[in-house]
Structure formats: C-alpha cells, structure tokens
Symmetry: C2
Subunit: 408 residues, 2 copies
Amino acid sequence: MKLLKVDTIQQVLEKMEYHFGDIELKGEVINIEVAVGRTAKEDTFSQYNIPDFNRSTVDGYAIVASDTFGVTDSIPVFLDVIGQVEMGKSTDIVISKGKAAYVPTGGMVPKGADAVIMIEHIEEMDSSTIAAYSSTAPGENVIKIGDDISKGDQLIHKGKQIRPQDIGVLTAAGIRQITVFEKPKAAVISTGDEIADPFGEIQYGEVRDINTYTLAAMLEEMGAAVTIKSVIKDEYELLKSAVEAALIDNHIVIISGGSSVGTKDVTAKVIESMGEPGVFVHGMAVKPGKPTIVGKAMGKALFGLPGHPVSAVIVFKVLIGHFMARLMNKENFKLQIPAVCSVNVHSSPGKETFQMVELEQTENGYAAIPLHGKSGAISLVSRAQGFVRIPHNKEGISKGETVMVELL
Amino acid sequence: MKLLKVDTIQQVLEKMEYHFGDIELKGEVINIEVAVGRTAKEDTFSQYNIPDFNRSTVDGYAIVASDTFGVTDSIPVFLDVIGQVEMGKSTDIVISKGKAAYVPTGGMVPKGADAVIMIEHIEEMDSSTIAAYSSTAPGENVIKIGDDISKGDQLIHKGKQIRPQDIGVLTAAGIRQITVFEKPKAAVISTGDEIADPFGEIQYGEVRDINTYTLAAMLEEMGAAVTIKSVIKDEYELLKSAVEAALIDNHIVIISGGSSVGTKDVTAKVIESMGEPGVFVHGMAVKPGKPTIVGKAMGKALFGLPGHPVSAVIVFKVLIGHFMARLMNKENFKLQIPAVCSVNVHSSPGKETFQMVELEQTENGYAAIPLHGKSGAISLVSRAQGFVRIPHNKEGISKGETVMVELL
C-alpha cells in the first residue's frame, strides 16, 4: 500500500477535484410536477413575454393618462365610455384622448390607453360618461408586456435546485418538462464484525447497524438514489466482492467502518485492489473523522468513512455533500446560521475541529449551544441542529463569539 | 354575507386556532427507511441500553486503571496478558489487578476492567506480558453501558420532523417502524376567467395558470398530499361544485384568485354556502395579500388566496404553513437567517409588509438585498431566497439594520 499522509480538508477537496473531475451525470427529462428538489442540467429560457398583453392590476377604466393631468377632487375631467373589456378576452377597443373603457383586474388594457384609473377615483355620470377625479400617471396600474418575464429571459439556470416557485415560473412560460441531472446512484456498505442487522436478534457483544441507514437517508435527502445497502463482515474477500459489485452501476460507493488503522483495516486494501488511481486520501486532519479514505477505481468515487456515527455524518457532509453538489453544478451558496456561542469551546491543535451544536432562538437571532458526547454517540447527532467548524489554526471559540452554524 | 373587517395576522392566527382546533390527522405506521421528512405522531423510547456492553473506543488492553496510577515513560508497570477479546463476540475473561486483555476498537471490555490503555502506550514484552507506560484514568477509552442511549430514554418526540440522523437513532435501538401523522390531504382550485391550462394553447387575453402548480408544489414540500389540482372559471355554480367535491376527502381546500373585492368575487359566497361557521376572515392587514379569506365548512379548513402569485405565496407561508405545522404538533422553532439590510425599505402604514429579498454571503454573515417588482411577478418569488416581515407599527427598515429572513 502506498504511504499516505494526513491531508487537510482543503487538500482532500482539491484532490477530489483533480480525480473526480471526469465523473459526470446524465440528463433526465422530467415533468415539472415532480421537479422540486431536483437540479436543472440546462438553462431554460422563456419563449414568451409574460404577460403577453398589457394587463390591468385594478378594476378601473383604461385611459390616456394625459387626459387626467391636473385633475383634482374638485376639478374632474369627463371621459366618454366606449366599451368594456371582458376578462380573459382580447379586445378591439382603441382608446384615444377623451375616451375610456372599463377593465377588470387582470384584464387586457386596450390599444391607445397607457394607464388605468381605479374605479374608486371615478364617478359614473351616465351609461356613457365617467368623471375622473385623480391625476393618473402613464403606466399607472398597468403591468406591461414582458414586465414579469421577457421573451428570451433565463427562467432557470444549470445547477439550480428547483423550488416550488420555480415551478410557477415554468408554468407561467408554458414549460411542462425540464432536463435535470439524473440522481447520482450510490451504494452504502457497512463493515465490522460487531455490526448486526438492526432489526434482527443481536448477540451479546454486537451492536445494531446505524451507519448504513443514516448514510442512505442522507444520500437520498441530498438527491441520490441508493441502490445498495449492505452490512459485510470485516474480511478482505467479502468486502472486495461487495465493492466490486457496487462499482458496476453506481457513481458513489461508501464503505463505513473498517477505516481505522487497527488490525482489521481492509477498506484501503480493497479499494487499492480495484485499479488505478486507487486510494488518494488516507487520513484527514479533522476531529472527529481522521480515519477517512477517498479513492477512485473504475471511474467511480469511493469513500471510506469512520465507523463512529458522528464522524461518519461529519465526513459525509464535508466530502460527499460537496462532491454531490459539484456533480450537479450547484451554486457555492451554502446556508449557514450566524449564532452566538454560549460557552468556550476547545479545539484540537492542528486539526479542523467540528463541534455539534443546538440552536436556541434569542431576541436578536440565535445562540449556539455546544453538545458534548463520545464520538460514537448517535444520540448527539440527533439532538444537534448543526455544527460549527473551528479551523486548524484557531484556538477554540470564546463564549459570546459569533459562529456560523452549518445545518445537519 | 356577514360584514367582516380586515384582521391582523395575529388575529387571523387566533381565529384559526379557535376554529381549526378540532381538525386532526390520523396516525400512519411506516418503515423508517421512508420516514425522512415525515413528522412523528408518538413519542418513541428505547427498550435497550446503547451500547449494552462496555465498549472500547480504541485498540488496546483492558486493565484495572489503578494498576497504572503513577506510571510514566521511564517507570512502566508490567501486566499479565490473560487473553484477547474477539470483535463482535461476548467474552468470559475477567480482569483483576495485574491482568490485561487485548480489546479491538468497538470490542467488549471484559468484566473487572474499568479502562483500556491504547496500544500506543504499551510494549509487548513477551506473549503473556505487556509493559504499560501511561497512567490511565478509570473510564478512559470506554463507552459504558447506556452511555449513548439508556433504556427508557426518549428517542423521538411527538411533533419531531424526522431527519436522517434520527433514522440512525432508531436503528441503533432496533426500531423498524414508527407512527407518523398521515399526510394532510389538500385540494388546490384556481379560479379566474383569464386563467388557462399552462400547457395548452392560450388565447390572446388569457394567462397561463401559475398558482395551481406553485401552491401544489409548496403543499407537497411541506408534507401534504395534493389530491386535486384544478382551474375553474369564475362562476358561482362551477366553483361551488368544485369546492363541494374537494371538501369530501381533504383536510385543506385552497381557492386561489377570485378573492379580490371586484365584480366577480365568488369565493367567499361559495364558502358561505357550505355551512357553518363559513367565512371567518375576509381581508388581512398585510401587503401584499390583503384579499385573503379563511373559513371552515364540513369540519375542513378553507383558504381563499389572492390571485397574484407573490401574494399567494406569502399568504400560503404565513397561514397555511402555520396551520400545517400545528396539525402535526411541530415545534415552534422556525429557521430564520439574520442578515444586514442593504438599502432602506419602506413599509405600508397600518399593514404588516412583506419584502422579498435575496441573500448574499458577506464576511460575517449575510446581506439581505430587497427585490422589487409588481405583485403579479412570479419571477420575483423565483429570484427571492426569502422574505422579511415589517410589523404594522414599524416604519420600514433602515440600511444597515439587521433583519430576520424567513426562507422561501
């Protein structure tokens, strides 16, 4: 096995960038009704102006605005009513100076008119005359053609994760289908002689499998399709065949446990045996999460995560979350919550330290309350709302300091 | 029709509390593999200690800690090796003073031992003797029985929305199924003579339906099952039969559009015709979103939302989002992002004003950049990352002020 030194997260991410740059996701055409949460693989543009006619925002009369200039409550102007626009219908009416036509909210503003005066500001004198009591500016109460979206405008950009309101923009432009990134396919394999099926009987000395289900759920939440979930004894041949099978049809293979430098470390050996370039990260300068392995074989990404659930969750977020975002061209924007740290927190010198926290609403924002527990404690991750990173060159966090909390 | 005055949001929420208090969701038993995003309807407790044996967190030797007290690099203590613990297996070894047994990371710490000394701190003298070079404290490198979770501990509480790490806690305790709230069933009906099927040919004067798809996607994102999506002309009889049908099998019926006090306001009349108590909110002091209707009939919640997409989205978030959270006993914790407002923002006197914003990452947090556009503009909501509320008694926001951004 190659001799590998411990890398910083930054170094690991750069190596991943270098080795994983050629891993690509195909496109998939889907209906917009099921697009929320998926990520666009193509830019989408509008073929239409929205609205494609001048639209009234009020119930009122379409007019030539200049007819009302200087008009007040006591000096109205009288206008001839030459018709009324029907909702949802085109109109042939043409407004010229001295003329007006009724338009409902959302209705088409007829040709010639450049404003709509609200019904509150007019009086119907007889069936064909109104008195207008308010000076109305050109453009007032009118959404002009293309005001919302112009023909050719970009609606969705490549890498955008679709939200409900984006569905609204797409229907506004009459677009039923978009091309999104296929879901990255992933396999989760947990190793460890002590790991047992969580739903069966366990022997004294065994523990129920936590990581397989946690990591699979995290993968799915981030938009992956989990094709394999399995628990394998810590034996070279068994793990090798499991990884071999997983590599065939997945973009990402995660092996959890078995990556500590103990007597039974087989993960790295198995990855090495799958071909070039093999393991390119073996150990990461983070706490917790040191025994992390990253490799590539058969053009696929392989991650060896620590067996301790807290470490596995953190390394997953930091490396695999990053990789999946890169696969789908996602923006770098990562939501973090500024919060005031409630107590002093110590860090490990020379390592990037991850501190789990709970968030508590305060008068002006949030307090971050550090949670402590042994690194094997899954209950810790379940109580935490997020974590704070303490860089390797920073000596802990002081009480009262504002930190950025990444959500879990 | 009853005479109704415009309410503040607080008043509307109180009336909803009063009228909707008896609307309940049933429970549904589901496998934990599909539980992420669902909300627990019952508290769940652990039947086991986790771990249920003392577990080593390192590769090392199980010892009686007091044997090593005072030991240093130059003055080691010699211990008899009486065996080795196998991973994932129970052991009969009993450690007493002067004895030691090898334990791998995750393995069972034998009876009598109260600490594990790391292999880095010992030397193997011969096959049955080690020299220990480090003073080890009682409990060191051992996760004790129940350290992570104790028998009887609460794992999940009613109202908790399940995250991947909660799945981990459940598998750790061997729990395969939990009871969650059934998905609230909802119908979305859009009205308006100008609203056309977004995917068909539209006539000049019509606009493509935006709200049906946007609101349905928002409902689904919040955990509802949308059973009906339809567009209805603004006619009393048509809307009445649509609402009647929707009330049969839904908890929530949303009618979008048709709620302005224009010539074609039929939504309130239709809700009134369905029985007691009928409409109990008609108009809300918010901008945008004034023409909001809330009612109850046949024991179901009815909402009349403004037709303008921006208003509809805001009123949805504020009222329906709140109601759905209440239905599922969710915590009051609502994630908001503190951000510094980039420019002055004006508000509407006497109304709670909602300002759409984009978030931009800055050195110490976020800047909130107000977005402007006519209220019909769906493109505005698609660009926005969230919104800021300006209370009715506050005069706008000053540049440089810190605001809380609710995410969209």
